[in-house]
Symmetry: C2
DNA sequence: GAGAGGATACTCGGATAGATGCTGTCCGAGTAACTGGGG
DNA sequence: CCCCAGTTACTCGGACAGCATCTATCCGAGTATCCTCTC
């Protein structure tokens, strides 16, 4: 449930890839945002494994989106990157007579659902639009052919 | 945003205190659930500072609820215990041209609001009822006068 | 001109180390109620 | 009977160690394309 830097790295890289959607993007290009290259590689692998990206190895390899940007939500990215480990009441492993009957697991489970459903509303294509209209770097980038 | 053990300790202890709402409860009683006494003391202090509990030191000291159990929500407890540190996009500190314009901070902020509003629905008194009706330890406890 | 083999340019993924924050421990300080003795 | 000082029973809060996880680094392995050489 923690939001780590991995998610930030993933989203920014996906924005970049979305911008150059008609060509494969290199890891080095993405790392040029100021992200550790090797660490980013691991994040990209998570996105690839979960089917958000397609990667190809070898010469002319790199990354492309596996599906259109309006079919990728922040929830997809969050799940791919942060995993689905989550809180569970551990009272049973203590001398706690509640033995998980306190309803904590359920309450936090419901809260997580709301959290995720809010992330689901946020599509990659929306973020792309917002970033471009805010006059960000993406606007000024020249495709490095 | 992480849900640590502190929250679990806090909720279970508050349940105990709620059950014996007409007397002060000792730290040792609460720690008897199988929680490190000294660590729990820190959690209790967080709850006291945020106005959920009232504590008194000295002989006959201990803890009591600062307000009725139906006016204490899981959100109150969560905020008191986990604090309000939360995700902020740090792209500015990198060579990232997005400079925080990606909307990540806003998106996760909205998601957090939904998360908290769900926790707000869960009152201490509800959890108390649930725990008792599930035949838990609370039912069998004899007030240690 | 075509096929084979080597060079090149990428990603994959495991091992490892440092940083950070949670968890747990220790201990002295502070405070309020009780107790007992002296006036 | 009353007051005062000492004792006792608590919480407060800082310092510190252990540990898990996140972050970052290193490096060899694997793979696809391209280039060159040979026939």
């Amino acid at each position: 449930m923690r939001i780590s830097k991995k998610t930030e790295y993933a989203v920014h890289s996906l924005l970049y890839i979305t911008f150059f959607k008609d060509r494969t993007v290199l890891l080095d290009e993405l790392a040029a945002q100021g992200i550790s290259r090797e660490y980013l590689a691991k994040v990209m692998r998570l996105l690839t494994k979960s089917g958000i990206l397609k990667s190809s190895v070898g010469v002319n390899g790199g990354y492309v989106l596996a599906r259109p940007a309006d079919q990728i939500t922040l929830e997809d990215i969050f799940n791919a990157v942060e995993g689905d480990a989550y809180y569970r009441c551990e009272s049973k492993s203590r001398r706690c007579g509640l033995a998980g009957k306190c309803g904590l697991t359920e309450a936090f489970g419901a809260a997580r659902k709301m959290f995720l459903s809010e992330l689901r509303k946020c599509k990659m294509s929306d973020m792309m639009e917002k970033s471009v209209s805010d006059g960000s770097w993406l606007k000024n980038l020249n495709p490095v052919v």
